[in-house]
Symmetry: C2
Subunit: 731 residues, 2 copies
Amino acid sequence: MKRYTILALVFFYTSLFAQHPIAYLTKADVGVVKTGLTREGLLKASFRDVKQSVDKWIGKDIDVPIPKDPAGGYTHEQHKANYILMFNSSLMYQLSGDTKYALLVKKLFLKYAALNPTLQNHPQATSSSPGRIFWQALNDANWLVYTGLAFDCIHDYLTPAERQLIADGAFKPEVDFFTINLKDWFNLIHNHAVWACAGVGIVGIATDNAHYLDMALHGTALDDKTGFLANIDGLFSPDGYYTEGPYYVRYAILPFYLFANALNNQQPTLKVFQRRNNVLQKALVNGLQQTNLNGGFYSYNDALKEKSFISNEIVEALSIAWKVYGADSSLLPVAKQQNRVTLSKGGADVALALAMSKNIAAFYPYKPISFTDGAKGNEGGVSILRTGGSEQLTSLIFKYSAHGLSHGHYDKLNIILYDGGNEILQDYGAARFIGIEQKYGGRYLPESKNYAAQTIAHNTVVVDETSHYNGKEDLSQKYHPEKLFSNSSNGKVQVISAIDDKAYGDVTLHRTVWMLQLPDASKPLTVDFFRLLSSKQHQYDLPFQYLGTVINTSFKYQAFTNSQTTLGAKSGYQFLWKEASAKASNALTQFTFLNNKTYYTISSYTDDSTNLFFTRLGANDPNFNLRRDPAYVIRKKGANQTFVNVVEIHGSYDTNNEVSVNAYSKVENITILRDDEAYLIAQISINKKLLVVAQSNKNVAANTKHTVKINGTDAHWVGPYTVIYDHQILQ
Amino acid sequence: MKRYTILALVFFYTSLFAQHPIAYLTKADVGVVKTGLTREGLLKASFRDVKQSVDKWIGKDIDVPIPKDPAGGYTHEQHKANYILMFNSSLMYQLSGDTKYALLVKKLFLKYAALNPTLQNHPQATSSSPGRIFWQALNDANWLVYTGLAFDCIHDYLTPAERQLIADGAFKPEVDFFTINLKDWFNLIHNHAVWACAGVGIVGIATDNAHYLDMALHGTALDDKTGFLANIDGLFSPDGYYTEGPYYVRYAILPFYLFANALNNQQPTLKVFQRRNNVLQKALVNGLQQTNLNGGFYSYNDALKEKSFISNEIVEALSIAWKVYGADSSLLPVAKQQNRVTLSKGGADVALALAMSKNIAAFYPYKPISFTDGAKGNEGGVSILRTGGSEQLTSLIFKYSAHGLSHGHYDKLNIILYDGGNEILQDYGAARFIGIEQKYGGRYLPESKNYAAQTIAHNTVVVDETSHYNGKEDLSQKYHPEKLFSNSSNGKVQVISAIDDKAYGDVTLHRTVWMLQLPDASKPLTVDFFRLLSSKQHQYDLPFQYLGTVINTSFKYQAFTNSQTTLGAKSGYQFLWKEASAKASNALTQFTFLNNKTYYTISSYTDDSTNLFFTRLGANDPNFNLRRDPAYVIRKKGANQTFVNVVEIHGSYDTNNEVSVNAYSKVENITILRDDEAYLIAQISINKKLLVVAQSNKNVAANTKHTVKINGTDAHWVGPYTVIYDHQILQ
């Protein structure tokens, strides 16, 4: 009986694993790329770059040092350079047939086969998932992915004995480490686990090891509660929204796509790219929708602003998507800006499409869009209201998603505003200098959790100087706001409304933002209702993380000119210098700033209990880890309180001609006509006309008819809101 | 006798003034432009833009309001728009022959002819040279220049009676105001006077008024002590360095060129463009040499950083220079970036050259260069040390010029560093939001004199927290530093040394900076000797206005994390928050920062009496008029003191690949081998080699032979300095 089993397994192995290369590209793909290389163009240029980066190492003795340094240090960077070199050289071998490239890879593999069995936890390991070659296991997983792909490409060049030596020496210690020592980490639903599964799975395919592949796909228990497929099912919402946010979908999409591509070559019947109605395609497309005009990923949750869609991960994903989902011309503006393609069938096809296409748009086709969060799509979401095309695009992001795992922030009902490619109301992102050893080994800085993740670092209300969920991840991870209503189908009135009654014990947060395109304005107007409901007295701070230069204010303030202290002592407040403060009056309060060449005015409904602050980051930051960014904070006190704010984009400043146009706000007054359990109705005088914005607070059904007295006259509308401008319903 | 004189004058008038147009372009020029417009290209595109801007006003009643508002306000912007429109419409008339354009100009002129005689000083006038149409006379001069050119273009369209009406009503009140009421201002040697003379002179040519032209050329006393020619002679050094600095040469070059061009058409025998060996050509070319890679004018003296050579003034000057000095292909990169040309013969020729030229360089051909200051070239100067080509350009500016009139700063022996188009050690420039009414009417802000002009805002030594010349312009205007020696002919060793014994009563400032290209480095190394000589005890602060993110320091510092106070109380110190301070030790002191994607390290020779500060702008700035820029200040105390600093450009940070290369300084030690009346010799250990930099403090003759013991061995050299690297003289 046992003998039969072994025979069956052997048969299984040979039938499934006979062909190499198969992980990154197939023999047929190699042919397509070789044909593509006969043409001048982006494929050939990309090939030349890779070849040049590899050729300078041919014949040299390449260092495989004993791991010692943190990120940014020598041994870290050397091992990172090695796996990229091994991958690239293995591709050169496939595309040129020249064995010098395979020899380079083999020699490095033999060094790793000697080194890896000797390794214990990295001396710089500080995380709960320590690495061996690197300070954290995540980097070891990166190593496995690339060296696995490299092994597959030189598989047929190696003798069976060499293959065995490398599989046992270079790969097995890492795979065992992941699947035994770090089993809990390997079995997470999290981007780290995606990398780990991709690494183990690709090595499985490359070394014809079905057990590795099984663990990678189905988790170490082989029960599909964890593993790669469970991560595809668990990390994305049905729309492809990745719960950690756009910066991390950029990162995670690479192992998702690389491993899925290998699987698709090797087990096409698994239809991994079709899983959950093409969720991996949606992940890419919707990741791109979450970028700014310059390609930078929106910086909510932990994010570094300098990352854009020209990064390697998106180059790879785009090429693979082109191959498996078919040509998609909307991706060409992205590919053009990337200005390189991968050396694969998809890359060859993208390069050809770029060469054949005339008039490629300057920008990705951004549109108003909403995503649900959560594997089932029932954990809140993110909406992006948008108007204007090309460089005139204005995007207002409203975030009512779930926490977003370990990289989430305490930012329920946050808004972020981009205009014409500039950040106007920013999300700080994360505090980290990735790859810079001197800055805390390139790791997330303490200020990232202590400031950047805190509520005050966002554009949403902080109650009693305490972050949402008191800054507790385990608590925040359990809940999410609920969307009340939205409309992005009407270009003139886009709206999104959501409520959260869990972020604070006894306070309910209810926010609605409208992006209104008034007929006599060139840019959209943002109207922002923020209701706070509580039976107890609280302090409510609504910060606006504006970026720009203070131009003027409608109020007098006290500036702290000779000495400065902090805005508070905790929840991120300790990082904010109080530059100025003011007491508002029973009147319209306005603040105008200049960003790049456009004016922005925040007009606020205030009363004489409202306080205002100008703050500046940098307090309690002895290591200069935070940018010195400003904020404008509106503080109200009370039990129930309502903020009504209008954000206006207006005018222009031409520095070369020294001309300023429409530098003054056109908002003349804001009054609240009604604010009770049933309705919130505000009236805004703008440009000598009246704008009335009304919402139903309770009954948000789409078909409910409402009749409400507004300014003494019965107004009628259907659905959760209405917007009336100059006595006409705006639509 | 009297009758003969009158006859002679009449003859003079008719012979000189018969032809119109002649001021901006001649009839022959019009023919060239018309021919140029038959081709597609930049001329035609520029024509289309101008035509479009004019056409929308044809047939409309254009407002000529009663002057009321400051810069940025409605009446200011309307009058500004009017003179540009009149000029452009008059060109359209010449180029199309369509009288609707001339009619538009005439109608506006008739409104001004009614308005101008009624005007008294502008209600917002605050300066000693008040305007009438505008808040300051300078803007009235701009108005005269453009409307004078416009009048000339429609001269032949107007009836003699209309000409008289406009000359008497629109022009005469302004000309009389300038030459009688503001005579002292009109007769200055200053950019305002250049504009005023250009305005009166162009109106003289346009209205056939020889007296106007005479006053413009020779001053109201007609004695050539003032007037346009005296300004050409007085404001430029023989090399064409403009004493107010690059930002203002950009501004002044327009009236210089426009009036000179009109004169050249009307009195070619005056050879105004050849005056002082083509000093106006040198002014343009050397103005361009004083720009950054992005075209931005260097920001020393009062300057707004956003001004670049794409501004209208340089577009006009470039076109005229091309016509009068001949084709110059080195100007094409500038013209290409300007992306428009003037509607003139020069503009047509530049457009044609752009169309015919292949491979126009991406950047202006920057080179190491020195300028003298002062009309006779004997009032110090500015040197720019440079290495690297194209985007690798590094420029180190050393300023030892005279004060620079009313826009000068207290910045003797200041240095400024640009690298790869980025400002690394900045000059703040001026504090002003030109054209923004809310920001102090668009005028220079008080912080401009109080902070930006003060010594602490620069990269040079402040003694006892008091600016050079105690911040007194009249005093500073009298003196200038003396250059001791320089060399920019040796690419590996560029050097400039100067001394100043007037900025402080009893302290002599002596600074030498070297830009060294070491054989094993890709970027130049700056070595900076700053000697302070005094018989009394003083405090010496050397600030580095670095731009970038703090990466690390070699020293421990105390950060003021919970409360902040200012660095001092006066001389600009009151605007600086003290973010951190440290006591140095008897050792090398290093500070590394990251700017864009490059690391920079300042390595300093310090002892245990040296103090260090990190500062941040923003204190005592209640109106948010200053940028929140950082500085690093090295403080020494004593009678004689010497600063030796090394500024290193090293490594790179690749945010997309998250890789940091050479992020650490290679400087290991700095010692002073000798520091006395005769010599200053420093030894820098770098990259495990020795760099010895030696200067003669007293005998700086080029042919003097020196023999000095260095590290126990006699070193021999000729001239004021030597640089020895790895035991070889660097050359």
